[in-house]
């Protein structure tokens, strides 16, 4: 194939449509948000255009810093747990007979159709004192009396990992299905037990897929704002919860916009950092 720079307008045409979509659905809304983030709030009213950094200054307090740090930590933890559970699961799934694989994938896709609200209430029921899983433990004699496991950090983590899990499996599946099964067999003939072969061959051979999936799950978890309110205590509320609170209940659009812009920038920086670290290791 000969590659050369496109000359006429017609040759540029194929890129026009995606460029247009990107502008309409990303550049314009994000620019608007940046514009709003430097606007001045009118107390009791809405906001008027301006160019002030007061919203960003307000953000640089210990409270918002702590919320930001917690949000990033939570998203990171969810990503690691989801990939940690989904990777071995998908590895086994990709080795099942075709019909069984299809059944599992359909089942996972059907979980995707559940809304965040339903997932949140399902988990809070499951972890509640009156109808929850602890009643089962009591019946089995494992616990003295039923207790409530929600709201708590553990409940929040469980709900968010549950929500991220099917996405993670679907992202990992193509790479794991394509993996040459003789790689593991080779490792076995060279003296690795199946578990050892998994960790010394399968995981490192798919390192870039794992990094990409971690980033996907991280970004996905960062946007969650319903589950922290349903399954967590107020100290477990993420930045997304605060943004919603400011934008909808406090009518402080400029501050909400400033937080959102900051969140986007921080997560972009983290993703770039992860990619950079991955590339450096590849070169070494």
């Amino acid at each position: 194939m000969i590659r050369r720079a496109p000359r006429s307008l017609a040759e540029h045409a194929p890129i026009l449509f995606p460029a247009l979509m990107l502008i309409v659905f990303f550049v314009i809304p994000f620019s608007l948000m940046i514009a709003v983030s430097v606007a001045r709030r009118v107390p009791g009213g809405f906001y008027e255009p301006d160019f002030v950094f007061a919203n960003y200054e307000r953000f640089l307090t210990a409270f918002f810093g702590g919320v930001l740090a917690f949000s990033l930590e939570l998203a990171g933890l969810v990503a690691v747990l989801a990939v940690g559970v989904a990777f071995p699961f998908t590895y086994r799934l990709a080795r099942l007979p075709r019909a069984a694989q299809v059944r599992w994938l359909v089942f996972l896709l059907s979980i995707l159709s559940l809304s965040e609200v339903i997932i949140g209430f399902a988990w809070s029921t499951l972890l509640s004192r009156t109808a929850g899983i602890t009643n089962l433990f009591v019946a089995l004699g494992l616990m003295a009396e039923a207790q409530s496991l929600t709201p708590s950090f553990g409940a929040l983590l469980a709900g968010m990992v549950y929500q991220a899990f099917p996405y993670t499996v679907l992202v990992l599946y193509p790479a794991l299905a394509r993996l040459d099964p003789s790689l593991v067999e080779a490792a076995r003939t060279l003296g690795s037990s199946p578990v050892r072969a998994f960790f010394t061959v399968v995981v490192p051979a798919l390192r870039s897929t794992i990094v990409a999936t971690l980033i996907m799950a991280f970004v996905f978890a960062l946007g969650s704002y319903l589950l922290p309110q349903l399954l967590g205590r107020p100290q477990h509320w993420t930045l997304s919860v605060l943004i919603t609170d400011q934008a909808i209940y406090q009518s402080n659009m400029p501050f909400a916009a400033a937080m959102a812009v900051f969140l986007v920038l921080v997560s972009l920086a983290l993703v770039a950092l992860a990619l950079l670290a991955g590339r450096r290791k590849e070169e070494a």
Binding site: D180, S182, L183, E185, A186, A187, R188, T189, L190, G191, S192, S193, P194, R196, A197, T200, V201, P204, A205, R207
Partner: protein, 353 residues
């Protein structure tokens, strides 16, 4: 004497029998080729020996030690896979040192041994090259070196050369044979290429439809095939249907042949190699002569191939160019089938398609 012994190894997948009671004794230091058309069960048999497939029946032992239930990672056999299965995240040297790493060898020891093995497969200095930067032949050598890193008791190769072009394949066959002779390691290679098997093996195991037809040295397989399948699969042969007419005499289309080793009565199948069929002056009398018409002649360079129609049966003869008789297609010819070159086989049986 140490040996690998297969005792009735069987593999079933549901109702399909992939390997049907394979029994074989492979003495130490032999080079064995499992040869057969695709789907004949040769790869399944090799994988059972490696421990990658669980046999449905039969036993497997090495040096009188039963290893039927030993998992693959405890057998300490080296194996080269058809896809080579080099680890993409490791360099050539790290691939070779992988089994040493698993056993906890120091990194200095790993580097030293990887260097040695690369030397052995004539690829010195490639230790730090990523696998993706190697050519097909170089990958082949890395895969062989990795399989030999632990000085295995058994060296297994599953169609190792099938990905290489014809010229490189021939060179690697000779090199592999020399390497095996130098190391003295018992080696089993799966191949569907009979030339490859004849080049490398001390013992050729001919398989078809899950059964072993014959296990013998290459020339014996060629000269004394056990049945029609082996005779036809290895090289080119003429197969003639015959019936015993009198003691030591068999009736074939177009005449009778006097042969030793004939059964007292009944039908037989005769196999004779084209290069053993002799062309005689037309009408010459003598034992084992058949008269027919020349239907086709072609020059193959080193030899000339004649196809002779004898009472409706085609007999192929190969002659040296200087022995070419002055007969045009359509003319009468006489062929001699020397008794010593005719192999008497049981009638019927499966033939390669």
């Amino acid at each position: 004497m140490s040996a690998l012994v297969l005792d009735g190894l069987t593999k079933r997948y549901g109702s399909f029998v992939a390997v049907h009671g394979a029994s074989l004794r492979i003495p130490h230091g032999r080079f064995v080729c499992l040869l057969g058309p695709s789907g004949c069960g040769k790869t399944t048999l090799l994988r059972m020996i490696a421990g990658l497939e669980e046999p449905s029946g039969g036993r497997l032992s090495i040096d009188d030690r039963d290893i039927t239930d030993t998992p693959a990672h405890k057998r300490e056999f080296g194996m080269v896979f058809q896809s080579l299965a080099l680890f993409p995240h490791l360099t050539a040297g790290e691939n070779i040192a992988y089994p040493l790493r698993i056993r906890g060898a120091s990194s200095a020891e790993q580097r030293r041994r990887a260097g040695e093995l690369l030397e052995l497969v004539r690829l010195p200095g490639a230790a730090d090259r990523p696998v993706s930067k190697l050519s097909g032949g170089q990958r082949q050598r890395v895969a062989i070196a990795r399989a030999l890193a632990l000085e295995p008791k058994l060296f297994l190769l599953d169609e190792p050369l099938s990905a290489l072009d014809a010229k490189l394949r021939e060179a690697m066959q000779i090199e592999l044979k020399q390497l095996q002779r130098r190391l003295g390691v018992t080696t089993i290679v799966v191949t569907h290429d009979q030339r490859e098997a004849m080049t490398m093996a001390d013992m050729v195991v001919v398989m078809s439809q899950g059964r072993i037809h014959q296990a013998a040295p290459p020339m014996e397989v060629y000269r004394r095939p056990a049945d029609a399948f082996v005779a036809d699969f290895i090289g080119l042969t003429n197969l003639l249907d015959g019936a015993v007419a009198a003691p030591g005499v068999v009736a074939v289309p177009g005449g009778t042949l006097a042969l030793p080793d004939l059964p007292p009565q009944g039908r037989v199948l005769l196999s004779i190699r084209p290069e053993d069929v002799l062309l005689r002056p037309t009408g010459e009398a003598g034992p084992n002569r058949l008269h027919g018409t020349l239907s086709f002649v072609r020059d193959l360079g080193a030899s000339v191939e004649f196809r002779v129609d004898v009472a409706g049966t085609e007999i192929i003869a190969l002659a040296r160019p200087q022995d070419r008789p002055a007969v045009e297609p359509g003319g009468a010819v006489t062929v001699e089938l020397p008794a010593s070159a005719c192999v008497v086989l049981p009638p019927g049986g499966e033939r390669p398609s």
